[in-house]
Amino acid sequence: MLKIKNLHANVEGKEILKGINLEIKAGEVHAIMGPNGSGKSTLASVIAGKEEYEQTEGEIILENEEISELEADERARKGVFLSFQYPVEIPGVSVTNFIKTAINETRKAQGLEEMPAKDMLKKIKEKSELLEIKRGFLSRSLNEGFSGGEKKRNEIFQMAMLEPKFAMLDETDSGLDIDALRIVSNGVNKLKTKDNAVMVITHYQRLLNYIVPDFVHVLMDGKIVKSGGKELAHKLEEHGYDWIKEEMKMA
């Protein structure tokens, strides 16, 4: 599904990603963990195509296509999705209008007609029920005044609507209360198929009890320094990152 080879990226002239290699196959869930400031969100943004983040080296291959040169919107229309750690507030645009525009622009690019209003409504209803989102919520301005948890839930609602091939969830668990965490994780699991893939960025093992990863990677100082199965997350939860640093020194 997604192959990343020797990815380097600069932010404001400073190198943040220092050679990342990662392969995520269809049907898999990968978790990325790592200390604050290690470059997790940067990695997700670079994959999503954020322009200010300059990719200086390496390749990003989505289903056999190198997408490094594509604009963010083109990547999105090819099935890349990022659930933001900090979703932007956009006053004046309602959630519904926003999601309609996103879906119809994607269809337009694929040479399809706009989605009939009836189908759109049905889909919105179905997906908002999946995430237990109240009706009135969807007519509010996008993220404006949303609580932290509401923002995250709204991100996953958008994911449900857009049905991406490759979804990155950047700290989607932060800000969610216990019930919301269960609802949102359940939503993500329901969307999961053998044909798509998910990359979850998180600090806590708790989320991974719900969204169970096939692989866990540790990102430190712009590099993946350790990979393992889901038990690695337990170990990190218990012991933190110091032991990895020690291991690295030894090597």
Partner: protein, 443 residues
């Protein structure tokens, strides 16, 4: 050199007035007013750049041209061709002028419960003599441009909403120019009287149908009596060859509500002199605008709210999006007299420069002589938010559409307060056309 050219047009106007004053076909009484006006214009002249209120807007280019002052329209316009300029989705009264001359076949006037008709016919009828005496040329302050309009105005809309009457439909005033007469100067003159506890909604548009330059110097005087309500919508979406100076003056009495929305989406040079005079307690003035221009277009909002009575409010909210080499000016003056205590005056002017070459000059002017007032003003100049653009693009929305969406969002709160759905829809459409997008929904 320029000064000399200025003199040329000014002199030409003055001598034309005397040579053609019989074209004006007015009563003796009005004739006297006009003669006085041309004398005033002779003294006051056109605004000069050194005047503070004209610092950022130069009429130089406009005044260098020669204009035909007394156009004669030969062929009637076909409604089918100009229908798109009307808010035709709803039932309205229409008062339409072509090259400054009344176009009866495009108009639908009334004298039934309200008067929505022509200035010329109002001036002929005795029953309006009283109203004209009281308000015509009494609300507009003395200025060169107003005097020029008074001298030359041949036609305009006369609207009179009697006491306790709610106008049953909105009224549209549309001025077309056909350019059959090369360069054209038109000076419409409107008078609107809203009686005690009466209500009306008015839509105004100036539309050129030609590539030839058109220079419109329009004056609208409005009087709103106690507890009256006025909602005025100005749609300015003219060609790159048409320039407009819109002078609108509103005198409002106690407990009145008056709002003016100005949508400036096109025109060569557009200057809005919009002035509110509050003459009674508990009155409310609302001034809102969206400016969205590109190319070398120039839009200037010069507003005044004069608070002369206590316990009143005014709200100004102007949004501007400037692309390419366009220029915006906002000069908002709020004047609070000493006796006008407990005033709540709010002014905000937010701008987006969508291009490095675009300019905005924003200048709030608060002159407050009362001590117990709440006045606030805020001005921002910025770009479209890059983070927000990335967010939208990351959902598959292309850059152009993402920009459009943010532009809509930016202008949204001004549109929200438009009470007529058909106008909201129209403005949405005009903005979408300008931004070359089809978002498939209205905000």
């Amino acid at each position: 050199m320029n000064e000399l050219r200025f003199m040329d047009l000014k002199d030409k106007l003055i001598s034309s007035f005397y040579a053609y004053e019989d074209h004006l076909q007015v009563t003796d009484q009005v004739h006297d007013v006009k003669v006085q006006a041309i004398k005033d214009f002779e003294t006051l002249g056109f605004p000069k750049k050194k005047e503070e209120a004209w610092k950022y807007t130069s009429l130089n280019k406009l005044l260098k041209q020669d204009y035909n002052l007394f156009a004669q329209v030969e062929d009637a316009l076909d409604y089918k061709e100009v229908k798109k300029y009307f808010i035709h989705e709803i039932d309205t009264y229409t008062i339409v002028f072509v090259d400054g001359v009344y176009a009866s076949q495009l108009s639908s006037t009334t004298h039934d419960k309200i008067d929505a008709c022509l200035m010329s016919s109002a001036m002929e009828k005795d029953k309006y003599a009283d109203l004209l005496e009281k308000y015509f040329n009494k609300i507009a302050p003395k200025s060169g441009l107003n005097a020029l309009n008074t001298a030359f105005a041949r036609q305009g809309a006369f609207i009179n909403i009697p006491k306790n009457t709610v106008a049953d439909k909105p009224i549209q005033i549309i001025n077309f120019s056909t350019g059959k007469e090369n360069n054209l100067m038109i000076q419409p003159r409107n008078l609107i009287v809203v009686g005690e506890n009466a209500q009306v909604e008015i839509i105004e548009r100036h539309q050129s149908l030609t590539e030839n330059p058109v220079f419109t110097n329009s004056v609208t005087e409005i009087f709103v009596d106690k507890r009256g309500m006025l909602d005025f919508y100005k749609i300015q979406n003219d060609t790159h060859h048409a320039s407009l100076i819109d002078n609108t003056f509103i005198k409002q009495m106690a407990e009145t509500h008056c709002s003016v929305h100005t949508f400036s989406l096109g025109g060569a040079l557009t200057r809005n002199n919009l002035e509110f005079y509050q003459k009674g307690e508990h009155s409310n003035s609302i001034l809102k605008g969206v400016t969205l221009i590109e190319g070398k277009q120039h839009v200037d909002h010069n507003t005044l709210v004069h608070h002369t009575q206590p316990n009143c409010e005014s709200h100004q909210d102007y949004k501007g999006i400037y692309d390419e080499k366009s220029v915006g000016v906002f000069n908002g003056k709020v004047l609070v007299e000493k006796i006008a205590q407990k005033i709540n005056a709010y002014q905000s002017n937010n701008n987006i420069l969508a291009h490095d070459d675009a300019t905005i000059n924003s200048k709030p002017q608060l002159e407050i002589f009362a001590d117990d007032v709440a006045c606030s003003h805020g001005c921002t100049i910025g770009q479209l938010d890059e983070e927000a653009l990335f967010y939208l693009k990351s959902r598959g929305i292309p850059a152009k559409e993402a920009r459009a969406l943010l532009t809509y969002a930016f202008a949204n709160n001004v549109l929200e307060s438009v009470k007529i759905g058909a106008i909201k829809k129209r403005i949405n459409k005009l903005i979408a056309n300008k931004l070359n997008v089809n978002l498939g929904f209205d905000l």
